[in-house]
Protein backbone atom coordinates (compact mmCIF):
# COMPACT_ATOMS: atom_id res chain seq x y z
CA UNK A 1 0.00 0.00 0.00
CA UNK A 2 1.64 3.24 -1.08
CA UNK A 3 1.90 6.39 0.98
CA UNK A 4 0.23 9.27 -0.71
CA UNK A 5 0.44 13.00 -0.80
CA UNK A 6 -3.22 13.87 -1.01
CA UNK A 7 -4.73 17.10 -2.32
CA UNK A 8 -6.88 19.15 0.03
CA UNK A 9 -10.00 20.34 -1.79
CA UNK A 10 -11.42 22.22 1.16
CA UNK A 11 -10.84 22.67 4.90
CA UNK A 12 -13.43 24.74 6.71
CA UNK A 13 -14.61 25.34 10.24
CA UNK A 14 -18.22 24.20 10.41
CA UNK A 15 -18.78 25.25 14.00
CA UNK A 16 -16.38 26.60 16.61
CA UNK A 17 -13.42 24.18 16.87
CA UNK A 18 -14.80 21.60 14.41
CA UNK A 19 -13.48 21.27 10.87
CA UNK A 20 -14.52 19.44 7.74
CA UNK A 21 -11.69 18.58 5.35
CA UNK A 22 -12.37 17.42 1.82
CA UNK A 23 -9.65 15.35 0.15
CA UNK A 24 -9.23 14.19 -3.41
CA UNK A 25 -8.35 10.50 -3.59
CA UNK A 26 -10.10 8.00 -5.87
CA UNK A 27 -7.84 5.27 -4.44
CA UNK A 28 -9.01 5.81 -0.87
CA UNK A 29 -12.61 6.60 -1.87
CA UNK A 30 -12.91 3.30 -3.73
CA UNK A 31 -11.09 1.12 -1.22
CA UNK A 32 -12.34 2.17 2.16
CA UNK A 33 -14.95 0.76 4.50
CA UNK A 34 -16.94 2.54 7.20
CA UNK A 35 -14.94 2.67 10.44
CA UNK A 36 -11.53 2.78 8.78
CA UNK A 37 -9.18 5.69 9.32
CA UNK A 38 -6.37 7.68 7.74
CA UNK A 39 -3.12 8.26 9.58
CA UNK A 40 -2.22 11.85 8.81
CA UNK A 41 1.07 13.70 9.18
CA UNK A 42 -0.14 17.09 10.37
CA UNK A 43 3.23 18.83 10.38
CA UNK A 44 6.89 18.36 9.48
CA UNK A 45 7.87 19.97 12.80
CA UNK A 46 10.03 17.75 15.03
CA UNK A 47 7.78 18.53 17.99
CA UNK A 48 4.88 16.91 16.14
CA UNK A 49 6.42 13.68 14.96
CA UNK A 50 3.53 11.26 15.17
CA UNK A 51 0.65 11.03 12.76
CA UNK A 52 -2.94 11.54 13.88
CA UNK A 53 -5.62 8.90 13.21
CA UNK A 54 -8.80 10.39 11.77
CA UNK A 55 -11.72 8.33 10.57
CA UNK A 56 -13.26 8.62 7.16
CA UNK A 57 -16.38 10.72 7.56
CA UNK A 58 -17.94 10.47 4.11
CA UNK A 59 -17.19 9.21 0.63
CA UNK A 60 -18.41 11.34 -2.27
CA UNK A 61 -18.61 10.28 -5.92
CA UNK A 62 -15.91 7.60 -5.77
CA UNK A 63 -13.13 10.16 -5.82
CA UNK A 64 -13.49 12.39 -2.77
CA UNK A 65 -13.43 11.72 0.95
CA UNK A 66 -14.20 13.86 3.95
CA UNK A 67 -12.70 13.98 7.40
CA UNK A 68 -14.56 15.62 10.26
CA UNK A 69 -12.36 16.56 13.19
CA UNK A 70 -12.25 18.58 16.36
CA UNK A 71 -9.22 20.67 17.30
CA UNK A 72 -8.06 18.99 20.50
CA UNK A 73 -4.30 19.51 20.49
CA UNK A 74 -1.22 20.54 18.54
CA UNK A 75 -1.76 18.04 15.73
CA UNK A 76 -5.34 18.87 14.90
CA UNK A 77 -4.54 22.59 15.31
CA UNK A 78 -1.88 22.26 12.59
CA UNK A 79 -4.32 20.34 10.44
CA UNK A 80 -6.96 23.05 10.83
CA UNK A 81 -4.53 25.59 9.35
CA UNK A 82 -4.00 23.65 6.12
CA UNK A 83 -5.35 25.38 3.06
CA UNK A 84 -7.19 24.28 -0.03
CA UNK A 85 -4.66 23.28 -2.72
CA UNK A 86 -2.04 22.04 -0.23
CA UNK A 87 -1.17 18.36 -0.03
CA UNK A 88 -1.01 16.21 3.08
CA UNK A 89 0.78 12.94 3.74
CA UNK A 90 -1.82 10.25 4.52
CA UNK A 91 -1.44 6.53 5.11
CA UNK A 92 -4.59 4.53 4.68
CA UNK A 93 -7.30 3.45 4.69
CA UNK A 94 -6.26 1.55 7.82
CA UNK A 95 -7.84 -0.69 10.43
CA UNK A 96 -10.88 -2.91 10.61
CA UNK A 97 -14.17 -1.16 9.99
CA UNK A 98 -17.69 -1.92 11.16
CA UNK A 99 -19.26 -5.28 10.36
CA UNK A 100 -22.38 -4.59 8.29
CA UNK A 101 -25.43 -6.80 7.82
CA UNK A 102 -24.38 -8.99 4.86
CA UNK A 103 -27.33 -9.12 2.47
CA UNK A 104 -29.78 -6.48 1.25
CA UNK A 105 -32.53 -8.47 2.87
CA UNK A 106 -30.77 -8.32 6.25
CA UNK A 107 -30.14 -4.60 5.73
CA UNK A 108 -33.89 -4.09 5.16
CA UNK A 109 -34.87 -5.97 8.26
CA UNK A 110 -32.26 -4.57 10.64
CA UNK A 111 -32.81 -1.49 12.69
CA UNK A 112 -29.56 0.43 13.04
CA UNK A 113 -28.96 2.25 16.30
CA UNK A 114 -26.16 4.80 16.03
CA UNK A 115 -24.71 6.32 19.17
CA UNK A 116 -22.30 9.23 18.84
CA UNK A 117 -20.50 11.04 21.63
CA UNK A 118 -19.27 14.42 20.38
CA UNK A 119 -16.84 14.03 17.48
CA UNK A 120 -17.60 10.29 17.61
CA UNK A 121 -20.20 11.04 14.93
CA UNK A 122 -17.39 11.23 12.35
CA UNK A 123 -17.28 7.57 11.17
CA UNK A 124 -21.01 7.00 11.68
CA UNK A 125 -22.04 9.14 8.71
CA UNK A 126 -20.03 6.99 6.28
CA UNK A 127 -21.59 3.98 7.96
CA UNK A 128 -25.09 5.46 7.45
CA UNK A 129 -24.30 6.02 3.76
CA UNK A 130 -23.62 2.30 3.42
CA UNK A 131 -26.74 1.38 5.38
CA UNK A 132 -29.17 3.53 3.43
CA UNK A 133 -31.49 0.53 3.05
CA UNK A 134 -31.92 0.16 6.80
CA UNK A 135 -34.01 2.06 9.27
CA UNK A 136 -31.62 4.26 11.25
CA UNK A 137 -32.19 5.59 14.74
CA UNK A 138 -29.44 8.00 15.73
CA UNK A 139 -28.55 9.15 19.24
CA UNK A 140 -26.35 12.21 19.20
CA UNK A 141 -24.76 13.42 22.40
CA UNK A 142 -22.51 16.40 23.09
CA UNK A 143 -21.70 18.99 25.75
CA UNK A 144 -23.69 21.80 24.10
CA UNK A 145 -26.09 22.24 21.16
CA UNK A 146 -23.33 23.76 18.99
CA UNK A 147 -21.46 20.46 19.16
CA UNK A 148 -24.36 18.37 17.90
CA UNK A 149 -23.10 17.63 14.39
CA UNK A 150 -24.56 16.07 11.27
CA UNK A 151 -28.19 16.07 12.39
CA UNK A 152 -29.16 17.49 9.00
CA UNK A 153 -27.28 14.81 7.06
CA UNK A 154 -28.94 12.11 9.12
CA UNK A 155 -32.36 13.66 8.64
CA UNK A 156 -31.78 13.63 4.88
CA UNK A 157 -31.16 9.89 5.16
CA UNK A 158 -34.56 9.59 6.89
CA UNK A 159 -33.00 8.71 10.22
CA UNK A 160 -34.93 9.10 13.43
CA UNK A 161 -32.86 11.47 15.59
CA UNK A 162 -32.56 11.78 19.36
CA UNK A 163 -30.36 14.46 20.84
CA UNK A 164 -28.83 14.94 24.27
CA UNK A 165 -26.66 17.76 25.60
CA UNK A 166 -24.91 17.90 28.93
CA UNK A 167 -25.96 21.51 29.49
CA UNK A 168 -29.51 20.91 28.32
CA UNK A 169 -29.25 23.47 25.50
CA UNK A 170 -30.81 21.01 23.08
CA UNK A 171 -32.86 17.85 23.54
CA UNK A 172 -32.49 15.61 26.57
CA UNK A 173 -30.34 17.08 29.35
CA UNK A 174 -27.68 14.59 30.33
CA UNK A 175 -25.53 11.85 28.83
CA UNK A 176 -26.37 10.17 25.56
CA UNK A 177 -26.08 6.78 27.26
CA UNK A 178 -28.92 7.71 29.62
CA UNK A 179 -31.02 8.90 26.70
CA UNK A 180 -30.42 5.58 24.93
CA UNK A 181 -31.30 3.70 28.10
CA UNK A 182 -34.70 5.41 28.28
CA UNK A 183 -35.45 4.85 24.59
CA UNK A 184 -34.35 1.23 24.46
CA UNK A 185 -37.34 0.35 26.62
CA UNK A 186 -39.70 1.50 23.85
CA UNK A 187 -37.77 0.40 20.77
CA UNK A 188 -38.39 -2.93 19.16
CA UNK A 189 -34.86 -4.13 19.56
CA UNK A 190 -35.33 -7.67 18.18
CA UNK A 191 -33.39 -7.05 15.00
CA UNK A 192 -31.16 -4.20 15.98
CA UNK A 193 -27.46 -3.50 15.91
CA UNK A 194 -25.82 -0.76 17.91
CA UNK A 195 -22.85 1.08 16.39
CA UNK A 196 -21.17 3.47 18.79
CA UNK A 197 -18.23 5.85 18.68
CA UNK A 198 -17.11 8.27 21.37
CA UNK A 199 -15.13 8.53 24.59
CA UNK A 200 -14.30 5.31 26.47
CA UNK A 201 -16.63 6.09 29.38
CA UNK A 202 -19.57 6.44 27.00
CA UNK A 203 -18.69 3.28 25.10
CA UNK A 204 -18.60 1.35 28.35
CA UNK A 205 -22.12 2.51 29.27
CA UNK A 206 -23.40 1.63 25.80
CA UNK A 207 -21.76 -1.79 25.99
CA UNK A 208 -23.47 -2.49 29.31
CA UNK A 209 -26.83 -1.46 27.88
CA UNK A 210 -26.37 -3.61 24.80
CA UNK A 211 -25.61 -6.60 26.98
CA UNK A 212 -28.63 -6.00 29.18
CA UNK A 213 -30.92 -5.72 26.15
CA UNK A 214 -29.10 -8.45 24.20
CA UNK A 215 -28.47 -6.24 21.22
CA UNK A 216 -25.26 -6.84 19.23
CA UNK A 217 -22.99 -3.85 19.63
CA UNK A 218 -19.87 -2.62 17.86
CA UNK A 219 -17.75 0.15 19.30
CA UNK A 220 -15.12 2.30 17.63
CA UNK A 221 -12.34 3.69 19.81
CA UNK A 222 -10.72 7.09 19.57
CA UNK A 223 -7.10 6.42 20.49
CA UNK A 224 -3.75 8.14 20.18
CA UNK A 225 -1.45 5.85 18.18
CA UNK A 226 2.19 5.27 17.35
CA UNK A 227 2.63 3.72 13.93
CA UNK A 228 -1.04 3.11 13.03
CA UNK A 229 -0.18 -0.08 11.12
CA UNK A 230 0.28 -2.63 13.88
CA UNK A 231 4.03 -2.66 14.45
CA UNK A 232 4.68 -0.72 17.64
CA UNK A 233 1.93 -2.01 19.97
CA UNK A 234 1.51 1.45 21.51
CA UNK A 235 -2.25 1.85 21.09
CA UNK A 236 -3.40 -1.32 22.84
CA UNK A 237 -6.60 -1.74 24.86
CA UNK A 238 -7.64 -4.48 27.23
CA UNK A 239 -9.76 -7.22 25.71
CA UNK A 240 -10.86 -10.52 27.17
CA UNK A 241 -8.00 -12.14 25.20
CA UNK A 242 -5.38 -9.71 26.52
CA UNK A 243 -4.13 -6.52 24.91
CA UNK A 244 -5.16 -5.80 21.33
CA UNK A 245 -4.01 -3.06 18.98
CA UNK A 246 -6.62 -0.41 18.26
CA UNK A 247 -4.93 0.45 14.94
CA UNK A 248 -4.70 -3.03 13.50
CA UNK A 249 -7.18 -5.24 15.38
CA UNK A 250 -9.65 -2.31 15.65
CA UNK A 251 -10.50 0.54 15.80
CA UNK A 252 -13.90 -1.19 15.71
CA UNK A 253 -14.39 -4.02 18.20
CA UNK A 254 -17.30 -6.15 19.19
CA UNK A 255 -18.40 -4.74 22.58
CA UNK A 256 -18.37 -8.29 23.98
CA UNK A 257 -14.66 -8.57 23.24
CA UNK A 258 -13.58 -5.68 25.44
CA UNK A 259 -12.64 -6.10 29.09
CA UNK A 260 -14.67 -3.10 30.28
CA UNK A 261 -13.70 -3.56 33.91
CA UNK A 262 -10.01 -3.03 33.23
CA UNK A 263 -10.17 -0.50 30.45
Amino acid sequence: MPLRQILILNNKEITSGYFLMKLSSPRIAQNTLPGQFLHIKCSTNNNLLLRRPLSIHRVINKDTIEILYKVVGKGTLCLSKKKKGEKIDCIGPLGNGFQLPKTDNQKHKTEIILVAGGIGIAPLIFLSQELAKSRIVAFLGAKTKDEILCAKELKNMNAEIHVSTEDGSLGYKGLVSNLLKNKLLTLNSKLSIIYACGPKGMLKEIALLSKEHQIPCQVSFEQFMGCGIGICNACVIRTKQGYKRVCKDGPVFDAEEIDWEKI
Binding site: M1, P2, L3, K41, N46, N47, L48, L49, L50, R51, D89, I91, F224, M225, G226, C227, I229, G230, I231, C232, N233, A234, C235, V236, I237, G242, Y243, K248
Partner: protein, 304 residues
Protein backbone atom coordinates in the same frame (compact mmCIF):
# COMPACT_ATOMS: atom_id res chain seq x y z
CA UNK B 1 27.99 5.98 -11.83
CA UNK B 2 26.07 4.69 -8.87
CA UNK B 3 28.12 4.63 -5.68
CA UNK B 4 28.60 1.39 -3.77
CA UNK B 5 26.46 1.59 -0.66
CA UNK B 6 26.99 -1.94 0.57
CA UNK B 7 28.67 -2.43 3.94
CA UNK B 8 29.83 -5.28 6.10
CA UNK B 9 29.17 -6.04 9.75
CA UNK B 10 31.75 -8.70 10.69
CA UNK B 11 30.92 -11.48 8.21
CA UNK B 12 27.46 -10.15 7.35
CA UNK B 13 27.09 -8.36 4.04
CA UNK B 14 24.42 -5.64 3.85
CA UNK B 15 23.33 -4.17 0.51
CA UNK B 16 23.05 -0.78 2.22
CA UNK B 17 23.74 0.56 5.73
CA UNK B 18 20.09 1.00 6.77
CA UNK B 19 18.78 -1.43 9.38
CA UNK B 20 15.25 -1.40 10.80
CA UNK B 21 15.64 -1.09 14.58
CA UNK B 22 14.17 -3.55 17.04
CA UNK B 23 10.62 -2.79 18.12
CA UNK B 24 9.92 -0.50 15.16
CA UNK B 25 9.30 -3.08 12.45
CA UNK B 26 7.58 -5.85 14.41
CA UNK B 27 8.47 -9.20 12.84
CA UNK B 28 8.40 -7.76 9.34
CA UNK B 29 4.96 -8.77 8.19
CA UNK B 30 2.99 -5.55 8.82
CA UNK B 31 5.68 -3.16 7.60
CA UNK B 32 6.13 -5.24 4.42
CA UNK B 33 2.81 -3.83 3.18
CA UNK B 34 4.40 -0.35 3.07
CA UNK B 35 8.07 -1.03 2.43
CA UNK B 36 9.93 -3.45 0.19
CA UNK B 37 11.90 -5.24 2.88
CA UNK B 38 14.24 -6.77 0.32
CA UNK B 39 15.56 -3.26 -0.33
CA UNK B 40 16.71 -2.52 3.23
CA UNK B 41 20.10 -3.44 4.70
CA UNK B 42 18.73 -5.66 7.46
CA UNK B 43 15.89 -5.99 9.94
CA UNK B 44 16.02 -6.48 13.69
CA UNK B 45 12.98 -8.17 15.24
CA UNK B 46 11.06 -7.01 18.24
CA UNK B 47 12.78 -8.26 21.41
CA UNK B 48 11.87 -11.84 22.27
CA UNK B 49 11.79 -13.24 25.79
CA UNK B 50 11.58 -16.81 27.04
CA UNK B 51 7.96 -16.51 28.15
CA UNK B 52 5.32 -14.40 26.40
CA UNK B 53 5.05 -10.90 27.86
CA UNK B 54 1.87 -8.85 27.81
CA UNK B 55 3.66 -5.52 28.20
CA UNK B 56 2.88 -2.38 30.15
CA UNK B 57 -0.58 -0.92 30.74
CA UNK B 58 -1.57 1.87 28.32
CA UNK B 59 -1.01 4.67 27.52
CA UNK B 60 2.25 3.42 26.06
CA UNK B 61 3.38 6.34 23.95
CA UNK B 62 3.75 10.10 24.35
CA UNK B 63 4.80 12.75 21.89
CA UNK B 64 7.27 15.26 23.34
CA UNK B 65 9.61 18.01 22.13
CA UNK B 66 11.85 16.49 19.50
CA UNK B 67 10.85 12.92 20.09
CA UNK B 68 8.54 10.30 21.48
CA UNK B 69 8.58 8.33 24.71
CA UNK B 70 7.52 4.71 24.54
CA UNK B 71 6.71 2.33 27.33
CA UNK B 72 5.70 -0.85 25.52
CA UNK B 73 7.24 -3.11 28.15
CA UNK B 74 8.71 -5.70 25.77
CA UNK B 75 5.29 -7.09 24.78
CA UNK B 76 6.07 -10.21 22.71
CA UNK B 77 4.71 -13.71 22.07
CA UNK B 78 7.71 -15.54 23.62
CA UNK B 79 10.43 -17.59 21.91
CA UNK B 80 8.29 -20.65 21.23
CA UNK B 81 5.64 -18.77 19.32
CA UNK B 82 8.31 -16.64 17.62
CA UNK B 83 10.01 -19.73 16.18
CA UNK B 84 6.74 -21.28 15.08
CA UNK B 85 4.75 -18.26 13.86
CA UNK B 86 7.19 -15.48 13.02
CA UNK B 87 10.40 -17.10 11.75
CA UNK B 88 8.88 -18.64 8.58
CA UNK B 89 8.05 -15.17 7.20
CA UNK B 90 11.48 -13.78 8.08
CA UNK B 91 13.21 -16.74 6.44
CA UNK B 92 11.62 -15.91 3.11
CA UNK B 93 13.30 -12.48 3.04
CA UNK B 94 16.32 -11.96 0.85
CA UNK B 95 17.98 -9.68 3.41
CA UNK B 96 19.75 -10.58 6.66
CA UNK B 97 17.59 -10.44 9.77
CA UNK B 98 18.74 -10.23 13.36
CA UNK B 99 16.77 -11.54 16.32
CA UNK B 100 16.68 -9.36 19.44
CA UNK B 101 16.50 -11.19 22.74
CA UNK B 102 16.20 -10.24 26.38
CA UNK B 103 16.61 -12.34 29.51
CA UNK B 104 16.16 -11.76 33.20
CA UNK B 105 19.47 -13.50 33.95
CA UNK B 106 22.65 -14.21 32.01
CA UNK B 107 21.63 -17.85 31.78
CA UNK B 108 18.30 -16.88 30.29
CA UNK B 109 20.09 -14.97 27.51
CA UNK B 110 22.13 -18.13 26.85
CA UNK B 111 19.01 -20.30 26.93
CA UNK B 112 17.36 -18.12 24.29
CA UNK B 113 20.50 -18.11 22.13
CA UNK B 114 20.68 -21.89 22.36
CA UNK B 115 17.15 -22.21 21.00
CA UNK B 116 17.88 -19.77 18.15
CA UNK B 117 21.15 -21.58 17.33
CA UNK B 118 19.08 -24.55 16.09
CA UNK B 119 17.19 -22.36 13.64
CA UNK B 120 18.36 -21.66 10.11
CA UNK B 121 18.96 -18.29 8.42
CA UNK B 122 19.36 -16.08 11.48
CA UNK B 123 22.22 -13.72 10.58
CA UNK B 124 22.82 -12.39 14.08
CA UNK B 125 21.40 -12.28 17.59
CA UNK B 126 21.06 -8.90 19.24
CA UNK B 127 21.31 -8.87 23.03
CA UNK B 128 19.03 -6.20 24.44
CA UNK B 129 21.20 -5.25 27.40
CA UNK B 130 18.91 -2.39 28.42
CA UNK B 131 16.76 -4.58 30.59
CA UNK B 132 16.98 -5.10 34.35
CA UNK B 133 19.13 -7.95 35.65
CA UNK B 134 16.91 -9.71 38.18
CA UNK B 135 19.89 -10.77 40.26
CA UNK B 136 21.01 -7.18 40.58
CA UNK B 137 17.81 -5.41 41.49
CA UNK B 138 17.15 -2.48 39.23
CA UNK B 139 20.53 -2.45 37.49
CA UNK B 140 20.52 -3.02 33.76
CA UNK B 141 22.78 -5.68 32.21
CA UNK B 142 24.49 -3.06 30.10
CA UNK B 143 25.36 -0.84 33.06
CA UNK B 144 28.01 -3.16 34.43
CA UNK B 145 31.09 -4.07 32.32
CA UNK B 146 31.49 -7.39 34.16
CA UNK B 147 27.88 -8.47 33.65
CA UNK B 148 28.03 -7.33 30.01
CA UNK B 149 31.18 -9.39 29.51
CA UNK B 150 29.75 -12.48 31.19
CA UNK B 151 26.44 -12.31 29.35
CA UNK B 152 28.18 -12.14 25.96
CA UNK B 153 30.58 -14.94 26.96
CA UNK B 154 27.75 -17.23 28.04
CA UNK B 155 25.85 -16.58 24.83
CA UNK B 156 28.93 -17.14 22.66
CA UNK B 157 29.49 -20.50 24.35
CA UNK B 158 26.17 -21.85 23.09
CA UNK B 159 25.95 -20.41 19.58
CA UNK B 160 28.09 -19.69 16.55
CA UNK B 161 25.64 -17.06 15.27
CA UNK B 162 27.26 -13.58 15.37
CA UNK B 163 26.33 -11.54 18.46
CA UNK B 164 25.33 -7.89 18.62
CA UNK B 165 25.39 -6.14 22.00
CA UNK B 166 22.83 -3.33 22.13
CA UNK B 167 24.04 -0.85 24.70
CA UNK B 168 22.12 1.44 27.00
CA UNK B 169 23.16 5.09 27.27
CA UNK B 170 22.49 4.99 31.03
CA UNK B 171 26.14 4.52 31.99
CA UNK B 172 28.87 6.67 33.45
CA UNK B 173 31.36 5.64 30.75
CA UNK B 174 30.19 3.95 27.56
CA UNK B 175 33.75 3.05 26.53
CA UNK B 176 34.10 0.77 29.58
CA UNK B 177 31.10 -1.21 28.41
CA UNK B 178 32.32 -1.26 24.81
CA UNK B 179 35.71 -2.55 25.94
CA UNK B 180 33.96 -5.32 27.90
CA UNK B 181 32.08 -6.28 24.71
CA UNK B 182 35.34 -6.31 22.76
CA UNK B 183 37.04 -8.45 25.39
CA UNK B 184 34.17 -10.95 25.21
CA UNK B 185 34.68 -11.22 21.42
CA UNK B 186 31.37 -9.60 20.70
CA UNK B 187 30.92 -9.44 16.90
CA UNK B 188 29.01 -6.16 16.63
CA UNK B 189 28.13 -3.31 19.00
CA UNK B 190 24.86 -1.45 18.58
CA UNK B 191 24.18 1.86 20.33
CA UNK B 192 22.29 3.64 21.72
CA UNK B 193 19.04 2.37 23.13
CA UNK B 194 16.41 4.90 24.28
CA UNK B 195 17.00 7.32 27.17
CA UNK B 196 14.70 7.09 30.23
CA UNK B 197 12.14 9.87 30.30
CA UNK B 198 8.65 10.68 31.50
CA UNK B 199 5.66 12.98 31.10
CA UNK B 200 3.41 14.33 33.85
CA UNK B 201 -0.22 14.73 32.86
CA UNK B 202 -1.32 18.19 34.04
CA UNK B 203 -4.98 17.20 33.98
CA UNK B 204 -4.54 14.35 36.44
CA UNK B 205 -1.33 15.47 38.13
CA UNK B 206 0.03 11.95 37.62
CA UNK B 207 2.59 10.31 35.30
CA UNK B 208 1.03 10.09 31.83
CA UNK B 209 2.42 6.72 30.75
CA UNK B 210 0.92 3.51 32.12
CA UNK B 211 4.44 2.26 32.79
CA UNK B 212 5.20 5.57 34.65
CA UNK B 213 8.32 6.23 32.57
CA UNK B 214 9.55 5.11 29.18
CA UNK B 215 12.34 5.50 26.66
CA UNK B 216 12.94 8.71 24.73
CA UNK B 217 13.79 8.34 21.05
CA UNK B 218 13.82 10.56 17.99
CA UNK B 219 15.73 13.70 16.93
CA UNK B 220 16.13 14.84 20.57
CA UNK B 221 18.63 12.03 21.28
CA UNK B 222 20.61 12.16 18.04
CA UNK B 223 23.52 14.26 19.28
CA UNK B 224 23.81 12.21 22.48
CA UNK B 225 23.94 8.99 20.45
CA UNK B 226 26.42 10.45 18.01
CA UNK B 227 28.90 11.25 20.77
CA UNK B 228 28.61 7.77 22.23
CA UNK B 229 29.20 6.16 18.83
CA UNK B 230 32.22 8.44 18.31
CA UNK B 231 33.62 7.58 21.76
CA UNK B 232 33.16 3.85 21.25
CA UNK B 233 34.66 3.92 17.75
CA UNK B 234 37.77 5.49 19.25
CA UNK B 235 38.45 2.61 21.64
CA UNK B 236 37.32 -0.59 19.85
CA UNK B 237 37.57 -1.92 16.30
CA UNK B 238 34.34 -3.93 16.66
CA UNK B 239 31.85 -2.94 13.91
CA UNK B 240 29.24 -0.50 15.19
CA UNK B 241 25.55 -0.06 14.39
CA UNK B 242 24.73 3.56 15.19
CA UNK B 243 21.24 4.35 16.40
CA UNK B 244 19.37 7.31 17.83
CA UNK B 245 17.12 9.81 16.11
CA UNK B 246 18.13 9.05 12.55
CA UNK B 247 15.39 10.62 10.44
CA UNK B 248 17.11 11.09 7.08
CA UNK B 249 20.19 10.39 4.99
CA UNK B 250 22.18 13.27 6.46
CA UNK B 251 21.67 11.94 9.99
CA UNK B 252 22.76 8.49 8.84
CA UNK B 253 25.93 9.86 7.22
CA UNK B 254 26.82 11.71 10.45
CA UNK B 255 26.70 8.40 12.34
CA UNK B 256 28.81 6.69 9.69
CA UNK B 257 31.38 9.48 9.85
CA UNK B 258 31.38 9.09 13.65
CA UNK B 259 32.39 5.45 13.26
CA UNK B 260 29.26 3.38 12.57
CA UNK B 261 29.49 0.74 9.82
CA UNK B 262 25.70 0.69 9.59
CA UNK B 263 22.83 2.55 11.22
CA UNK B 264 19.49 1.52 12.55
CA UNK B 265 16.37 3.57 12.05
CA UNK B 266 13.63 3.37 14.67
CA UNK B 267 11.31 6.27 15.39
CA UNK B 268 11.33 7.21 11.70
CA UNK B 269 9.71 3.84 10.85
CA UNK B 270 6.81 4.55 13.17
CA UNK B 271 6.17 7.88 11.50
CA UNK B 272 6.54 6.66 7.92
CA UNK B 273 6.98 2.93 7.39
CA UNK B 274 8.83 3.55 4.12
CA UNK B 275 11.36 5.97 5.63
CA UNK B 276 14.23 3.46 5.32
CA UNK B 277 13.91 3.59 1.54
CA UNK B 278 14.04 7.38 1.50
CA UNK B 279 17.01 7.44 3.88
CA UNK B 280 18.91 5.00 1.66
CA UNK B 281 18.29 7.17 -1.41
CA UNK B 282 19.49 10.21 0.50
CA UNK B 283 22.75 8.48 1.45
CA UNK B 284 23.25 7.59 -2.19
CA UNK B 285 22.62 11.19 -3.24
CA UNK B 286 25.07 12.46 -0.66
CA UNK B 287 27.74 10.19 -2.12
CA UNK B 288 26.93 11.19 -5.70
CA UNK B 289 27.03 14.90 -4.87
CA UNK B 290 30.43 14.54 -3.25
CA UNK B 291 31.71 12.10 -5.87
CA UNK B 292 32.47 9.42 -3.30
CA UNK B 293 32.31 5.97 -4.86
CA UNK B 294 31.74 3.93 -1.71
CA UNK B 295 30.00 4.55 1.59
CA UNK B 296 32.72 2.45 3.25
CA UNK B 297 35.10 5.36 2.72
CA UNK B 298 33.06 7.42 5.17
CA UNK B 299 33.14 4.97 8.07
CA UNK B 300 34.89 6.61 11.02
CA UNK B 301 36.21 9.42 8.83
CA UNK B 302 35.61 12.04 11.54
CA UNK B 303 38.07 10.22 13.81
CA UNK B 304 41.07 10.72 11.51
Amino acid sequence: MKPDISVKLCSIKLQNPIILASGTCGFGEEIAKFLNLNKVGALITKTITLKPKEGNPPPRIAEVEGGIINSIGLENPGIKSFVKDKLPFLRKLKIPFFVSISGETEDEFAELAKILDKEKNISAIELNLSCPNLKQGKNLFGQDPKITYETIKKVKEVTSIPIIAKLTPQVKDITEIALACHKANCDIISLINTIPAMVIDLRTGKPFLGGISGGLSGPAIKTVALKMVYDVAKVVDTPIIGCGGIMNGKDAVEFILAGASAVSVGTANLISPDSAQKTTEEIENYLIQRKINSVKKLIGKSLD
